[in-house]
Symmetry: C2
Subunit: 164 residues, 2 copies
DNA sequence: CAAGATAAGTCAACATGGCTGACACAAAGT
DNA sequence: ACTTTGTGTCAGCCATGTTGACTTATCTTG
């Protein structure tokens, strides 16, 4: 009897804990992504543009196909925002010397400047969270978030973000 | 000279670290939210419906205004999905006895069943990440994510998810 | 070399889920 | 009685995702 009750109690607590973690992810992501909307609106861009700016900035010379693999959207969705960014002079394209079908994407100087403006508030937010939480907590954060990623993607993502 | 170089080096590492954390959040959120799409499609619902189901499930009797405060969307956006959920028999409404303008929202039995189906894969994913990362890491995860939340919202959110 | 595969681009149509603005109505507070 | 508040609704717009079909250039392979 006592066993059953305690087991139920622990299950309940466990589920509560899981829910907290899920909701924390929702709220943190919500606030985290809301930082940039003001800056983006001033360029008539949205969050999709930001994601492209971010990943092209991080991986200069990235191909369209690789970018699609990161963002997990269709070519058609990407092309809309990418064309706007190219037309606006934020991103440049040039054929890969080894395979001239591939277009290497990179930020222009204008693009880098926008990238800096966009990443600054997010980096400040993360830096603050780091200071408050401490280095150990950061390591825990990384371990848990890494565990949340799909198995099939994990290795590729860790390679991508440079944590081998 | 050496000082400058080392300072620059540390700044660079620091920025790298910040970027890793930012990208980890992106990828984890991406995979985490993709779990449910198949189930949702079978009900002709989207992620917006899931968020409503989730928070109404967690807070039975919640008012429309409070739900809007959590989701941070407009009344008009919410009403679209909420009406579909009510029409489908997933959510019930009844006036609050104390203030009959307020409509208390709650899941019906059908809604609870859907909620269970939706939360199961996410809870499994989080539980797996917990096991792999360990309890300490989970505490670190919580501390960092809590730090990412806007100051103005933090207290309210911690109260909401039950971590006073 | 010819044939097929691959990378990229494009057009068209559609779905989802945000937004603003304007307005209506019932209930509560003064 | 008048105002404020909580909710609902209509109408339209925008951002960003989707599918499907097709083209073009280039690389790879039998």
């Amino acid at each position: 009897m006592a066993d059953t009750k305690s087991a139920v109690g622990r299950l309940y607590l466990r589920e509560e804990e899981l829910r907290q973690v899920i909701e924390l992810l929702f709220f943190a992501y919500r606030d985290f992504t809301s930082d940039l909307d003001a800056i983006l609106r001033s360029c008539r861009f949205g969050r999709a543009h930001h994601r492209v700016i971010h990943f092209v900035g991080r991986h200069p010379g990235i191909s369209v196909a690789d970018l699609l693999g990161i963002l997990r959207i269709t070519k058609q969705s990407l092309s809309r925002v990418l064309n706007q960014l190219i037309a606006g002079g934020y991103i440049s394209q040039r054929p890969d010397a080894n395979d001239r079908r591939r277009r290497m994407l990179a930020l222009t100087e204008k693009g880098r400047e926008l990238e800096r403006r966009l990443s600054a508030p997010q980096q400040a937010r993360v830096a603050r969270a780091f200071r408050e939480a401490g280095a150990e907590a950061v390591e825990g954060y990384r371990r848990v978030l890494t565990g949340l990623i799909d198995d099939e993607n994990r290795a590729a993502i860790l390679r991508l973000i440079g944590r081998p």
